[in-house]
Symmetry: C2
Subunit: 336 residues, 2 copies
């Protein structure tokens, strides 16, 4: 079996570290793993697959000879190094939002639009974490009937803001329990025992950048350019796993029975839907695994062409690192 | 000024205790306060307005001579004693859901349908806490144009489950921080760092009893019998104040500017709406006060007749105790 030289750009963040784990878990055929970071981390040694790897300084010359580079860095870093990665002949599978909406860059959730991977010109984008969870949950439903619009309210975990998010929530919770004051650093306001209805910056029509991603990225991934999405993104004091309350409008609405059956068979999904028995998706149950749990499927009482549902998924794994490694798997399997 | 003999049925719970505070805060003209509870609490003495009050055992004979009884007990207790309260000639302002949908019982949010108070035949019902917050937030908007439907996702604090809710969240958070196991008692699953997308029992079409209240009680309070509501109720690890993400469909949609102006002038509301400046309602800011904060007002991108907004309010105060005392105020002012 062919082996690949793989790099991770931004290896020291929470997504980069998760990518290292998932390459091993999924037995991705890695001959060499190169970890790239900024000067702050370069030179440090981390363990991977029982051997030490020294973190390299990201530079234009650093990517020569690599086959695949997984991007786990911020937009500016992704933009800075993408040309060098592509020039080196590697495929850049990037988790930042820098290239997601570019026409020459596929935006891929393997269970949804895996075939798009092969249209790449050196860069493949990994979608926004909430978007990955939502489209994985609803993909089987749009195969029953085209989806016209989505009203979404999110419940997003603090780890969506990087490794510093859970640290901040832990520190704030401890401070509150001791009656001490709280000093927000990562989030603009206290998040312990609070909700913050802003993720991302103000963008258009009163929506945030994070809220618009579900519409624009959803349109591209689902190949539904007319899809309309109204999203409200809310940070909640949960460590890990994003949840979404979705109301979907269809051309012709599937029944709840049809929807459940479709989700039961959908790759990447787990149907957890028995309200009478107290069975529904919850973030504590969906953390540290790769499936998107879907439940609370029921008719939309405001529109006969609508369905409501609730879904949860681990936004660091399926919402980021796992999805990127799955894209890499598609690439190498498509080659063979 | 006329003084009133007031009773509180279920005085030892979180809503009953808040009613005691709010009678004082709002200087309700109380000549005598009688506190009623079950055998577990009867005989205990609590302080109110600088004097001791012995808690009385609720019984059919206990209500004689009272003018107003505020109900802060569960449905079974409310049903058990309502006939005796009415027979004693007192008006029963009941916070349970036992009588809310009965045709001969007004269901009142004073800022919204205060005039309904005077149609009572001895019982006036206080609406569900999330419903009070939602209808207070949207009342000024439906005066701009009739509301046809609402899609709602709630973010409900643990204190909505009574005084034991915050105790359970505190205990669980402490246990998790120490790496100890968590034993749910009040809630069916751990609530620390988790979300539970079930409040109330399974009712119809896959909705819970709590979710259907927003439709049925909303129809009655707003005098909109055709109003359709799809609600998803979610318990979140917040101590106090419920939040709702609402998408409203109108006959003719007001502009965001009109909506903001209307809410700015609406009694019971505070407009907190400047995304660029990071201004929006949050539960920590809305706790321990009576206004419903409304923000994130923006067009619904899925429907040209829609608006989205986000609102928060203290569900023990405006969502329960304050609203009940406001109803009592309407009653006594209407008498005068």
């Amino acid at each position: 079996m062919k082996q690949y030289k793989v790099g991770i750009l931004g290896a020291t963040g929470s997504v980069g570290r998760e990518m290292m784990k998932i390459l091993l878990e999924r037995e991705f055929p890695v001959s060499e793993l190169h970890l790239f970071a900024s000067e702050r981390s370069a030179g440090k040694v981390v363990a991977w697959n029982g051997r030490p790897i020294q973190i390299e300084l990201a530079s234009d010359d650093a990517f020569k000879g690599l086959d695949i580079v997984l991007g786990a860095a911020e937009n500016d870093v992704a933009k800075r190094f993408a040309p060098a990665i592509v020039k080196a002949g590697a495929v850049f599978i990037d988790n930042s939002s820098a290239f997601r909406l570019r026409e020459d860059v596929p935006l891929v959730v393997p269970e949804v639009n895996g075939e798009d991977v092969f249209n790449h010109r050196g860069i493949i984008a990994n979608p926004n974490c909430s978007t990955i969870i939502a489209v994985t949950a609803i993909n089987a439903l749009r195969q029953l009937s085209p989806i016209v619009s989505i009203v979404a309210s999110t419940y997003q975990a603090v780890s969506g803001a990087g490794a510093a998010g859970p640290v901040e929530l832990s520190e704030q919770v401890s401070a509150v329990m001791k009656g001490q004051p709280v000093q927000p650093k990562v989030f603009p306001y206290p998040i312990a025992f609070n909700l913050i209805p802003q993720i991302g910056s103000e963008q258009e029509s009163g929506y945030t950048s994070e809220e618009m991603k579900l519409q624009y990225e959803g349109q591209k991934i689902l190949h539904l350019p007319a899809l309309r999405v109204s999203c409200t993104c809310v940070r909640v004091p949960v460590m890990r796993s994003h949840s979404l309350s979705l109301t979907l409008r269809f051309h012709h609405c599937p029944t709840v029975f049809e929807a459940r059956r479709a989700i039961q068979r959908a790759p990447g999904c787990k149907l957890v839907d028995d309200l009478g028995e107290g069975q529904y998706p919850m973030p504590l149950d969906t953390s540290d695994q790769d499936l998107v749990f879907v439940g609370r499927i029921r008719p939309d009482l405001t529109d006969e062409d609508g369905l409501c549902l609730w879904c949860c998924g681990d936004q660091i794994r399926k919402g980021a690192a796992t999805n990127a490694v799955q894209i890499a798997e598609l690439l190498i399997n498509g080659e063979g």
